[in-house]
């Protein structure tokens, strides 16, 4: 099995959204960065499949030079090699992102390394466009199942499970295929120190795609109202308990 998993570098936003002066981005000077949560589970899922069936996991990201950090994190968690589509930090819209990924997959195919499975997160934590995986699937002419909370590969087919109200919907999809997963499909491992060291010497190939004009064009970001209100303090420590129960009565939820 050759598995490609696509990840995105996103800021760890903490408690408050603060924008840059031009309202084009989050102010990230004081923030750390991580892999978008669904994709973290995507990496884990890809690694488990290859641990079980043999093969190779390639991790791909489209992002600024600093996004190599997220590739190395994925390599420390068991991916074998990285492909970094290096950008100047400008955001790419979903169509442009998908096109760049498709171009890479085709180049790998031509070099003799096609992918049996391409894994995405269901949606990124920041822009939440819900569509890149599906666009890639159409461009490659492959079936796609999204929002998965369960995935097992057997005999050239993927059993894909979605959580729906009251139960699970199951899809039976022939490989090669594209899937997108949700957090909760697995619990990602923490990398060991030796694994982190090994990750440093795993290969990461860089490519420099060109960004086409956005067809879903971001004009500006806006912090929604409601941030920064002041809670009414009911009390300090256990002495606050009677006031809390009084509040529960007022709200009609005291049981």
């Amino acid at each position: 099995m050759r598995v490609l998993v696509c990840v995105k570098r996103v800021p760890l936003t903490g408690g408050k959204m603060v924008l840059t002066a031009d309202e084009q981005a989050l102010e990230t000077r004081h923030l750390g960065f991580t892999i978008s949560p669904h994709e973290e589970c995507g990496v884990e899922e890809a690694v488990r499949i290859v641990e079980d069936q043999g093969g190779e996991v390639t991790v791909l990201t489209l992002g600024p030079p600093e996004a190599e950090e997220q590739i190395r994190d994925s390599l420390a968690n068991g991916a074998d090699r990285g492909v970094h589509l290096v950008t100047d930090g400008e955001e790419w819209d979903p169509q442009a992102t998908a096109a760049a990924i498709v171009e890479t997959v085709r180049a790998e195919e031509e070099a003799g390394g096609g992918f049996d499975l391409v894994v995405f997160g269901n949606e990124s934590a920041d822009s939440g466009n819900y569509q890149v995986g599906i666009r890639v699937a159409y461009a490659l002419g492959r079936p796609v199942a999204t929002g998965l909370k369960g995935l097992s590969i057997d005999g050239g087919r993927a059993r894909c499970e979605q959580e729906v109200p009251g139960g699970r919907d199951v899809y039976d999809v022939p490989l090669p295929a594209v899937v997108s997963v949700l957090e909760g499909i697995n619990l990602p491992r923490y990398p060991s120190v030796p694994a982190k060291l090994r990750a440093r010497s795993k290969p990461v190939e860089q490519r420099n795609p060109e960004r086409p004009p956005a067809r879903l064009e971001r004009l500006r970001l806006v912090v929604p109202p409601g941030q920064g209100k002041q809670a009414e303090v009911l009390g300090q420590g256990p002495e606050a308990a009677p006031r809390v129960v009084e509040l529960m009565r007022e709200l009609g939820v005291a049981g």
């Binding site: 903490g14 939440g128 999809v173 022939p174 064009e217 129960v245």
Partner: protein, 305 residues
């Protein structure tokens, strides 16, 4: 110019999407899969009903494509549900058109306001295409009816091809549910890093038992393996809307707030008076939850007896 809306059978959120779609064009056409003449009350002119066996996103997208060719709409709209976003992504991919997911408002010349970060941030964007494809973020637009009006119902003769059915639901497994569901609970008692351990959730369970509440948690807790992911409230977990949400030892990261801001009231218990959760909560108790929570439980027992 007409507008085309995908209405999922029995989906309240589709009615919200319809209400926003009315501002985009007239007459309003609907694609759905059960007879719903009552959609006339939402300003729908024609309900196109397609035969529907098992859910297959590609087949739904083919139905939309057929109606697009027939009625030449100016926009195609769906609810920002899993299926709504999935089907519109299929459509957008086939037609190589942009798709704006989870919009809360539409403006002039193709501008929309859409949610980012699960609603913690908004984006104003422009869709560069003649045919606008967009979904409506859940619970951001009210479902409103119009006076009079009953919709015509037309049966569709759909030419679904085999490829459309490669990815379809082949099996539905019911999961037996135990206890009170997080999404529907009137009260949620939720714990974060401050709870300290899996065992620490015992006192939250006890309080929840007295309140007929569900127990939730933050992402830190599920990543530490203290609670299953099904208990997680947040952008990548369950979105809750109880009358009262009790956040114990939760700092209030935007990831978590995206899941609990639907609560009518939030009570936060935290030893750190500077925790960001207090900028979202309605009520605060400042103190060690290991003392505060048992005290509330004891007080509640007294009151209930």
């Amino acid at each position: 110019m007409s507008v085309l809306v995908l209405v999922e059978p029995g989906e309240e959120l589709s009615l919200q999407a319809l209400s926003l779609a009315r501002d985009l064009g007239d007459p309003v056409h609907v694609l759905t899969f059960t007879d719903q003449p009552e959609l006339g009350a939402y300003g729908v002119h024609t309900v196109h009903v397609a035969e529907h066996d098992a859910y297959a996103p590609g087949a739904w997208a083919t139905c939309l494509e057929q109606l697009i060719d027939q009625i030449q709409p100016t926009a195609v709209v769906a609810a920002g549900t899993n299926r709504g976003n999935e089907v519109l992504s299929h459509l957008a991919a086939r037609r190589d058109l942009p798709f704006a997911a989870n919009c809360i408002a539409v403006g002039d010349d193709g501008t929309v306001t859409r949610v980012r970060w699960g609603g913690s941030l908004l984006e104003e964007a422009r869709i560069h295409a003649e045919l606008k494809i967009l979904s409506v973020a859940p619970h951001t637009v009210e479902a409103t009816t119009v006076n009079g009006g009953s919709a015509e119902v037309e049966r569709m003769d759909v030419a679904v091809n085999e490829e459309d059915l490669v990815v379809r639901v082949v099996e539905h497994a019911e999961t037996p549910t135990a206890g009170i569901s997080l999404a529907e609970a009137k009260v949620v008692v939720s714990g974060g890093r401050g709870v300290g351990s899996a065992d620490g959730f015992g006192m939250l369970e006890e309080l929840a038992g007295l309140l007929n509440a569900a127990v939730g948690c933050s992402r830190v807790v599920t990543m530490a393996g203290w609670r299953p992911h099904t208990d997680q409230v947040g952008q990548t977990g369950t979105k809750v809307a109880p009358d009262l949400y009790i956040a114990c030892g939760i700092s209030g990261a935007t990831q978590h707030i995206a899941g609990c801001k639907g609560a009518k009231k939030i009570l936060a218990i935290n030893s750190d008076a500077e925790a960001p959760i207090f900028a979202t909560a309605d009520y605060a108790v400042i103190g060690d939850l290991a003392q505060v929570v048992p005290a509330i439980t004891a007080e509640l027992r007294k009151a209930q007896s």
